[in-house]
């Protein structure tokens, strides 16, 4: 067991218990934070866009070409990732992410 830290769009930080093998998007959604995850993690909607704390970026698998293509559909920063493409493992205990803003 371990945790992830998620800062919501109002700037409030939440510590959520993580489950091995779950996508980070699923963990965030399961805890009821406002992440849409419209496509259910199929890398088709980019509604699970997060900013990953700099110190964690290198510990993640680099984005696939498919993820890069989806990231093209949102306003990114250099630390943008799709949280449905990050599978949680104990090495990611303490992972720190921020929910990206959504357009109207």
């Amino acid at each position: 067991m371990g945790v992830i830290h998620v800062t919501d769009r109002a700037g409030q930080r939440h510590t959520l218990e993580a489950i091995e093998g779950w996508r980070v998007m699923e963990i965030i959604r399961d805890w009821g934070l406002p992440i849409e995850g419209l496509c259910g993690g199929a890398c088709e909607c980019a509604t699970c866009h997060v900013f990953v704390d700099e110190q964690w970026l290198d510990k993640l698998y680099p984005p696939t070409e498919e993820e890069e293509d989806q990231l093209d559909t949102v306003v990114t920063k250099p630390n943008s990732r799709l949280s449905c493409q990050i599978i949680w493992t104990p090495e990611l205990d303490g992972l720190e992410v921020t929910l990206a803003p959504t357009g109207n």
Binding site: C45, E68, T73
Partner: protein, 347 residues
């Protein structure tokens, strides 16, 4: 001479669930018209994952999103449904009584009006609409300096145009508008484009010859006294900023689903979903049904197969509104000659 289309049922949304409802209604001699804002049928299957495999459609060990849509279209062909694509259903008004419901449905684009005895809402996750990038104050420039689609190219003649995005729409409009724009700038987050290779090549040669600009980065702010756009501030990956002067910005970030006007139709809503009963999948308004991803009830699963089941049950109740005097006989397609005649397969 009528100014509206008269039909039994209007189906809002031509996703997989709306399409299959045509079949279930057709078997009961109920005619329908389908309306969708997308230029094509198939909803999420066709728009979000046409090439991806689906493994949980009964009887199909594997079928792609588009494959399923093509099969559904072949299956409902005998019933000749009428499609109204590129049209958004704007209003739904009750003009009957609970015992004899009647509805007036209006679309926005061409202002088509329908009158019908029942409405089936198969609107899925909502209507597909262009994604709006989260940039402060962007709304105040919409329609004057910010456009999410190109309707008339002439509008952009002699304008300084900033196109944002890296897919087919962004690249197509880049090469199409470059000749008439005063100056065209393309902005994308990285130096890789997910568009037809010859269009990308054309863009690269225009950049090489100095006939347009290409920048890598994201828009961080818009400049100008709203509603008049004057420029955009671009943030590059290294943190530096750049100002691009422009009269119009065209962001092409793909599509997303929004509930849209459904919220204004007097239906009960629960977290943007329409509650229904599980016997008839009827909403709080008699004669208005909701099936597929748009509805909610205890135990709801957002699966295509659930939507198919919901359509079959809703059709039974719709029959009572369309043919109040007729008794409905339960029949199998395998053995009923009358059903087979409707399907055009009777011996």
């Amino acid at each position: 001479m009528t100014d509206h289309i008269e039909t039994d049922v209007v189906i809002i949304g031509a996703g997989p669930v709306g399409l299959f409802a045509v079949f279930e209604l057709g078997l009961l001699d109920i005619k329908c018209h389908l309306i969708d804002i997308l230029p094509k049928v198939g909803g999420q299957c066709a728009e979000l994952y046409p090439e991806k495999p689906i493994y949980d459609i009964p009887g199909f060990p594997m079928v792609t999103g588009q494959g399923l849509v093509d099969n559904l279209m072949a299956q409902i062909e005998p019933f000749h449904p009428t499609f109204h694509l590129n049209e958004m259903v704007e209003s739904l008004e009750s003009i009957g009584t609970p015992e004899a419901p009647r509805f007036r449905v209006k679309t926005s684009e061409n202002g088509t009006t329908f009158e019908c005895k029942a409405v089936i809402i198969a609107a899925g996750g909502g209507s597909f609409q262009p994604k709006k990038p989260p940039i402060d104050g962007i709304e105040s420039y919409e329609g004057t300096g910010v456009y999410y689609a190109v309707r008339k190219m002439e509008m952009f003649r002699n304008k300084r145009v900033l196109i944002v995005g890296g897919g087919d729409s962004a690249l197509d409009w880049t090469v199409n508008l470059q000749p008439i724009a005063k100056r065209l700038t393309l902005l994308h987050r990285r130096d890789a484009f997910r568009a037809a290779p010859h269009t990308v090549e054309k863009m690269r040669s225009l950049v090489a010859s100095g006939d347009m600009d290409l920048h890598l980065g994201q828009v961080s702010a818009l400049k100008g006294d709203a509603p008049v756009l004057e420029g955009a501030v671009i943030r590059k990956d290294d943190g530096s900023e750049l100002r691009v002067d422009c009269d119009v910005m065209l962001p092409f970030f793909g599509l997303t689903m929004k509930l849209g006007p459904i919220a204004d139709w007097g239906l009960n809503l629960h977290e943007n979903l329409v509650p229904v009963d599980t016997e008839k999948f009827e909403t709080n308004v008699p004669g208005i049904f909701a099936i597929g991803d748009i509805n909610t009830y205890p135990g709801k699963l957002k699966l295509i197969l659930s939507g198919f089941h919901e359509g079959a049950l809703a059709a039974q109740k719709v029959h009572r509104y369309v043919y109040p005097e007729k008794k409905l006989l339960f029949q199998y397609t395998t053995s009923s000659t009358s059903l087979q005649k409707k399907l055009g397969v009777a011996a």
